[in-house]
């Protein structure tokens, strides 16, 4: 069975990509993922804001007690107060890239224009074969317009594209008025891939402690429908590759995403739930399914059930939507 595929010009041995997660926090973790068979690894994200916070915290801690008491004018070696910077991340990237045969993609969440470009360039220099922009931007300010949000995405992409040679993917949220148009804009601005979708962490409220809790939940299979629908819609309409993310738990989920038109399928939740070795289960299952269905290559599968191009796209879309809605009303959710 030939599972090999292409993603942003990168040759992958299969379409399963381990997306950003704690599993890629160490070189050993990346190695385990590679050993389990994934086609590529996206490292956890470098958060510019975190680096700034850490720098400020370190500065505060190094300064605490300094020049206060004659016997201990400092408490740390001089190097301790230095700005942490991206060194830790870049070192991981560099070591991970040389430790495994598969492509290692860096992930970046910037804040400032200089941060986006500077860190992206540094990632490229450290051996990242591609960079995924984790535009984790929540417009919590009700005064920010939708256009402004879109503009910001385009701007960041253009900045980074202008700064690096390696391919650049954009990980998107599903919260745009017109996700399709947003995808086209990014495509036009030079995105080498779109990753659909980013899952924002949804903070929750604990009524017992009367406090807000960080909502860190792994995705479930049902959540895959939204990105799959968009992939099916966008397949074949963009130059950018399409990466599916969210809700991959079983081999069938890979198959479904590929059928919808994904170039690669990313997973974090299933690997966190079952361990890196689960990648082998997913891939073996995919091969078995393809064998059962008579597919010899991933290319034969990809986009088979995408929304077809051609004459009356709107009708297609409407048809699918209406059919789905009707089905939902009579079966899954019961009549109302």
């Amino acid at each position: 069975m030939d599972l090999s595929t292409d993603y942003m010009g990168l040759a992958l041995r299969n379409p399963l990509v381990a997306s950003a997660s704690p599993l890629s926090h160490t070189v050993d973790g990346v190695r385990r993922l590679a050993d389990a068979g994934v086609g590529a690894v996206v490292l956890h994200s470098l958060f510019e804001e975190e680096l700034a916070e850490e720098a400020a915290r370190n500065a505060r801690l190094v300064e605490a007690g300094r020049n206060s008491f004659a016997e201990s004018l400092s408490y740390f070696p001089e190097t301790a107060g230095e700005e942490p910077g991206p060194r830790r991340y870049l070192s991981l990237l560099e070591r991970a890239a040389s430790a495994v045969e598969i492509p290692v993609i860096a992930s970046l969440n910037g804040v400032t224009p200089g941060g986006w470009t500077g860190y992206a360039r540094a990632m490229q220099d450290a051996g990242a074969v591609a960079i995924e922009l984790n535009v984790y931007y929540l417009p919590g300010d009700p005064n920010v317009s939708g256009r402004e949000v879109e503009r910001r995405h385009i701007e960041i992409l253009q900045l980074v594209k202008g700064a690096v040679r390696v391919p650049v993917a954009v990980k998107l949220s599903p919260y745009f008025s017109s996700t399709g148009e947003m995808a086209r804009q990014l495509d036009a601005a030079g995105a080498d891939a779109l990753v659909l979708f980013n899952r924002f962490l949804h903070p929750d409220i604990d009524p017992e402690s009367l406090s807000v809790q960080p909502g860190i939940g792994l995705s479930t299979r049902t959540e895959a429908r939204l990105p799959r629908t968009w992939i099916a819609l966008l397949h074949g309409r963009l130059n950018a590759a399409l990466a599916a993310s969210t809700g991959v738990e079983e081999p069938d989920d890979l198959a479904m995403y590929l059928l919808a038109g994904a170039d690669v399928v990313m997973t974090t939740s299933s690997l966190l739930r079952h361990g890196s070795e689960h990648a082998t289960v997913l891939l073996d299952g995919l091969s078995a399914w393809m064998g059962r269905k008579g597919f010899g290559t991933v290319g034969e599968v990809r986009g088979k059930l995408a929304v077809p191009h051609g004459s009356d796209e709107a009708a297609h879309e409407r048809a699918g939507y209406v059919t789905a809605l009707r089905a939902a009303n009579v079966s899954a959710y019961g009549p109302w």
Partner: protein, 1189 residues
């Protein structure tokens, strides 16, 4: 090239570049030399011959000297940096090194020795104690000299083969920043040619050309052999001159073995060494310029004593000489330099080289960095003019006991008028010192400007105050004494204006910059009467700025330094204003750049707002205030506290006369209670409605400011309206009230209590039963509440439940209000010790943090209960603490034995039943102690009716019939390193002592150097690349003896286990060892999270809680108890929150990951071992073989 650096860096820069091996041990004030060497080595900076020196931290100075001796015998160019007791610990090796004619230089930041008290400050007591070792000695008087003579010493030691001590004054020179010209690598190579280093290597031990060195000699040859090295010593003066000439040839800076300055036909001459000689020189030049026939001889080469050079420079006209020594040798005819000078003159006179024998007197000055000023120099000359000058004399103090002290005119000012003098009063936490160091660097780099800076710190680790003394001028600044009349005063905290010193250091017409919450128009009415008077009388130019607000708004928190530094530049006129601001900004970018752009930007914002916020105050010409400053101590304080302690607290300790001070180092307990420091704006505030009375807040309070009492509610009559009281949560005591009182003026706002509190307000998770609140609105009422609280009775000890955390909090802490760091992790354990056993405890305290916050004057925290009983505390040394404590035990044992024997002898007179009751009394529970104390009181009463030698003898030791609790306390530097041999030996002795190791895992007191307690992967000084050896498990080592009670505790993880361990250890009649996890400022944590880190240390399995009780083994049980549950947190979940670990992850991520993996494996491995031990049968552990336990 001119740079601005301090004496330590000046010396270390040369020593590092001219050596291959540095063997060191941290000791104030020499530690920075070693730390710099380590920093340079970690950056792979090479010496002048291209190799990177190795810096090795040893377990003690004795160890450093041994390693150094070996390195020298191995042919390496080797050096060390030390001071004080450290130098003394090197003496045995120094004899060997000198005896074997081995070239090396010891760079010494000369410091006092611990005598009646320890002092970290500068004098020549230490170097004078090694003058007989055979080392040559070279003294530097200034930062420039410390640099230059370091090179001269290195050249001379290699050319003479005689080892050198190169010394300069601790703090005054070691820590003074000054503009100096630095020697290049080429200069150093020229001064120390490779043939000399090659010759040193040639003499090394080598199996290729073997010999033996270090033989044992008999009466036949030892003497002659000892004399055989004389020619080497004879050559020293000439070869040192040669090295000095070499230096002069390259730099133009010419030094001589003995230098003279002053009138060529001086009649009155002072002779001295060190920084004081610099002051004397400047004063003499000032006086000689007016025609006074005075002179000063500066001795640089002290050993071998340069008799000829001295006679050569000393004017023949000198008829009266005063030799000034910065040391004291009690019982001697005179101090060492005096004796040497007298010897030289007598020799010259008797051999007719000198016709007239001048009158020579000797004086002491400057002990422990006591100021030595031009006025004092002039005072010495005045004394020499007397018909009968005193012999010996002291200068700088008022000696009303022996009458030795000279009077002098303190106001003599010899400084050039074009020197700008500035003094800044700040807090340690506000960054004032750092900003001033920056200012000096900024101005010191100016082409025509020279700078000097010296910084004075108080003795507290929290809320400490700093005074920065800065000078700037067009010529090199030679004024090694504090700025007295400053033209600029910066008072960086409004409350500090009350300090007498602030305005008294202002020259007439000086500028005063005040950080004030009041605007220019509001300020005047807020000043006290004396301050207004002084401002008007001295015509002070007054500026204000609300720097605290500006700093806060700029995101700098309490660090007001940048704001006030900018204002200094804006008003002092030292540079043109715009230019100055630009330079400040550039300096900010440089200093803070490596901490990130956000930090830089916040500081730059502060600069801009500082300029806008500065206001000039129109000073009224009339004193309007009626406010007088509040007295420092209450009127009912003991007389000693009123007279002595309060004077020291006010910063006027220099004024205290000799007669006011105890002659033997014995000081009253409990004086910290009189020093209400009010160092935090935020203090703990109790919410009685929410409180569940668990006692955790007061259990963990590092400063003993949270006290609990229960009482009959009828005793609330007369309580202030704001006094908080709730019913005691206890069955069967309905009329009993409970109060938790916070001593707000002593609270440091550390918030450990808030973190420890388990009670949360329903509906408001942010509110607990104890919270932080602003002091100011509470202060007055709380002071009244405290006064009332103190009238309530302290719980009767025999009615307190010692078995629970809650119960112990009704016991009075006999350790309170120490100056330890805010949120200190050590002091809660000491407080607990004092509560449980304080009324019968004797404490031996190793030198370190605990001896500093425990015993650093002016006020100390160990105190007494209402009966006048409390911990008897003493600090001997760093290295000998376990042995010292054992000695206390041995003395107690002997006296118990004596008391029991005498009691038996008096059996008939005292009554058999009564005597038996005393002799057989069990003494473990508080009710038993109470009963025994009553019996002993009765015994003393009955003894008054008797007489005879047995009675007198018994009375002298009768106290010992109440069982004493001997505690040996210290940090990990003591327990794991310098004192480990003693600790191990005392553990093996089987005697009943209790050792408490306050384990912060680094040398905290000297600034975070690695110890053998430092964990694998952590960064510390001397382990900048992460420690690569696991922490020593001294618990397992102690368990191996079989008769040692051992516990590892962490109060933040399990306070009940801590309590159990303390009680079991104390009750165990043999050696006990408690290893207590202490979070520390040197871990790089927000101290508020200290308890949480303790919890994490335990939860990750890094710090397993254990108890090993030999008594259980004796009764057939498994003595090894594993008290903490299996690890349930990855090690990174604990280590990742501390800068000491995360800093390596940033500087060398791969190494951090490697060490982190190894550390996690070590934790797991050790856990397996412990778990296995916890299931072993008793006979798998060693038995306690003592017969009479």
């Amino acid at each position: 090239m001119r740079v601005t650096l301090d004496g330590n860096e000046a010396a270390a820069s040369v020593a590092y570049r001219l050596n291959e091996v540095c063997c060191i041990y941290p000791i104030t004030p020499a530690s920075p030399m070693a730390e710099l060497a380590d920093e340079w080595a970690s950056k792979k900076q090479p010496n002048v011959w291209g190799s990177v020196p190795v810096v090795v931290e040893m377990q003690s100075e004795g160890g450093a000297a041994g390693a150094l001796h070996g390195a020298l015998q191995g042919g390496a160019l080797s050096t060390t940096f030390t001071a004080s007791q450290g130098l003394l610990l090197m003496i045995p090796d120094m004899y060997k090194i000198a005896g074997e004619l081995t070239p090396t230089v010891f760079h010494v930041a000369a410091r006092s020795l611990a005598a009646q008290a320890l002092s970290i400050f500068g004098d020549h007591s230490d170097v004078m104690a090694v003058r007989q070792t055979g080392f040559a000695m070279l003294a530097s008087s200034s930062v420039q000299e410390a640099h230059d003579l370091a090179a001269v010493a290195q050249a001379a030691t290699l050319s003479t083969r005689v080892p050198f001590v190169h010394f300069f004054d601790g703090f005054r020179t070691s820590h003074e920043l000054n503009s100096i010209e630095v020697l290049t690598d080429d200069d150093l190579r020229a001064l120390v040619p490779e043939e000399l280093t090659g010759a040193h290597r040639e003499r090394a031990l080598s199996p290729e050309r073997p010999f033996i060195r270090g033989t044992s000699m008999n009466p036949d040859v030892y003497f002659q052999a000892r004399e055989s090295s004389n020619p080497f010593y004879a050559r020293i003066p000439g070869l040192v001159v040669e090295a000095m000439d070499g230096l002069a040839g390259r730099t133009g800076r010419h030094y001589r073995l003995v230098d003279y300055a002053g009138h060529p036909e001086a009649e009155l001459v002072v002779i001295m060494m060190g920084s004081g000689a610099e002051t004397a020189r400047e004063t003499v030049l000032h006086l000689a310029a007016t025609g006074e026939r005075v002179g000063v001889v500066t001795v640089r080469l002290y050993r071998p004593f340069p008799t000829e050079a001295l006679l050569e420079v000393l004017p023949q006209t000198a008829s009266r000489i005063a030799v000034l020594d910065r040391t004291k040798e009690p019982g001697s005819v005179g101090e060492p330099l005096f004796l040497d000078v007298v010897g030289a003159l007598v020799e010259a006179h008797s051999s007719t080289k000198r016709a007239v024998m001048p009158f020579v007197t000797g004086g002491r000055y400057g002990l422990a960095s006591k100021e030595f000023t031009p006025g004092m120099v002039a005072g010495v000359f005045d004394e020499l003019r007397q018909e009968r000058p005193r012999r010996p004399f002291t200068v700088g103090i008022t000696d009303d006991v022996s009458g030795s002290s000279l009077s002098y005119d303190a106001s003599l000012d010899i400084e050039p008028p074009d020197t700008l003098r500035a003094v800044f009063f700040g807090l340690g936490a506000d960054g004032t010192v750092g900003a001033n160091k920056n200012t000096i660097k900024i101005l010191g780099d100016e082409e025509d400007l020279y700078a000097q800076g010296y910084f004075v710190y108080d003795s507290k680790k929290s809320g400490s105050q700093t005074v920065s003394h800065l000078r700037f001028g067009p010529r090199p600044i030679r004024a090694p004494y504090l700025v007295d009349k400053a033209s600029f005063i910066g008072c960086h905290h409004f409350g500090m204006l009350e300090r007498a010193e602030v305005l008294s250091r202002a020259a007439h017409g000086a500028t005063l910059l005040l950080n004030s919450p009041y605007s220019a128009s509001e300020l005047w009415d807020e000043l006290t009467r004396p301050v207004q008077q002084q401002i008007i009388a001295e015509e002070i130019q007054l500026y204000v700025i609300d720097a605290s607000r500006i700093a806060r708004e700029a995101g700098l928190g309490e660090r007001v330094n940048t704001v006030l530094q900018t204002c200094f530049f804006a008003i002092s006129g030292v540079l043109e204003r715009a230019e100055a601001i630009a330079r400040v900004k550039a300096a900010i970018a440089k200093s803070y750049g490596r901490q990130g752009t956000a930090v830089v930007e916040a500081n730059l914002r502060a600069v801009d707002h500082a300029v806008e916020g500065l206001e000039r105050v129109e000073v009224p010409q009339r004193v309007s205030s009626r406010t007088e400053p509040a007295p420092l101590v209450p009127a009912d304080a003991p007389e000693f506290v009123q007279k002595v302690t309060a004077t020291m607290m006010a910063g006027r300790g220099d004024e205290l006369a000799v007669s006011t001070l105890p002659p033997d180092g014995t000081w009253p307990s409990g004086t910290a209670a009189y020093e209400k420091r009010k160092i935090s704006d935020l203090v703990a505030l109790w919410d009685p409605e929410l409180c569940i009375q668990c006692g955790k807040c007061s259990f963990v309070c590092p400063h003993s400011v949270i006290r609990s009492k229960y009482y009959d509610r009828s005793q609330l009559a007369g309580a202030p309206d704001t006094f908080r009281s709730v019913p005691l949560v206890a069955r069967g005591l309905p009329e009993t009230g409970y109060t938790l009182q916070v001593y707000v003026d002593d609270c440091t706002g550390c918030a450990l209590c808030v973190e420890a509190c388990p009670a949360v307000a329903p509906g408001d998770a942010s509110r607990k039963a104890i919270n932080l609140a602003r002091l100011e609105p509470l202060a007055a009422a709380e002071r009244e509440n405290i006064a009332f609280f103190e009238t309530l009775p302290v719980a009767e000890r025999s009615r307190v439940d010692f078995g629970t955390v809650r119960g112990t909090q009704f016991l009075q802490p006999l350790f309170e209000f120490s100056g330890a760091c805010t949120g200190c992790g050590e002091t809660p354990y000491l407080k607990l010790l004092s509560q449980l056993f304080g009324d019968r405890a004797v404490i031996a305290n190793a030198t370190g943090c605990s001896s500093i916050y425990g015993g650093n004057l002016p006020t100390t925290p160990w105190t007494t209960d209402a009966d006048g009983r409390g911990p008897a505390w003493s600090n001997s040394l760093f290295e000998d603490n376990a042995e010292f404590g054992l000695g206390l035990r041995l003395a107690a044992d002997r006296h118990v034995e004596l008391a029991r024997r005498r009691l038996g002898e008096l059996r008939d007179e005292l009554g058999g039943e009564f005597v038996d009751a005393i002799l057989e009394a069990p003494q473990f529970s508080e009710s038993e102690f109470r009963a025994q104390r009553e019996r002993v009181a009765e015994l003393e009463h009955r003894l008054t009716a008797l007489d005879g030698p047995s009675v007198v003898d018994l009375l002298s030791v009768v106290d010992h019939l109440v069982r004493r609790s001997v505690w040996i306390v210290g940090g990990d530097g003591w327990a794991y390193d310098i004192g480990f041999g003693g600790l191990d030996h005392v553990l093996a002795s089987g005697h009943d002592v209790n050792m408490l190791v306050l384990d912060t895992e680094v040398y905290s007191n000297t600034g975070g150097q690695m110890s053998k307690a430092t964990p694998l992967g952590a960064v510390a000084k001397f382990a900048a690349a992460g420690k690569t050896v696991e922490k020593k498990d001294i618990a397992l080592q102690a368990i191996a003896y079989g008769n040692v009670y051992v516990a590892r505790v962490a109060m933040g993880a399990d306070p009940e286990q801590t309590l159990r361990a303390f009680r079991e250890a104390e009750a165990y009649q043999g050696p006990s060892l408690i290893i207590a996890y202490c979070h520390c400022i040197a871990h790089g944590i927000d101290m508020r999270n200290g308890l949480d880190q303790q919890y994490r240390a335990v939860a990750s399995g890094y710090w397993p809680l254990i108890r090993y009780d030999p008594m259980v083994r004796a009764s057939g049980g498994n003595p090894f108890l594993l008290d903490s549950p299996r690890p349930r947190l990855a090690l990174a979940g604990y280590t990742g929150r501390e800068l000491r670990y995360s800093t390596l992850a940033n500087s060398d991520p791969a190494e951090a990951e490697r060490l982190g993996g190894l550390a996690q494996a070590a934790v797991s491995r050790r856990w397996d071992i412990y778990e296995e031990m916890a299931t072993r049968p008793a006979h798998h552990f060693p038995a306690d073989a003592r017969k009479d336990r």
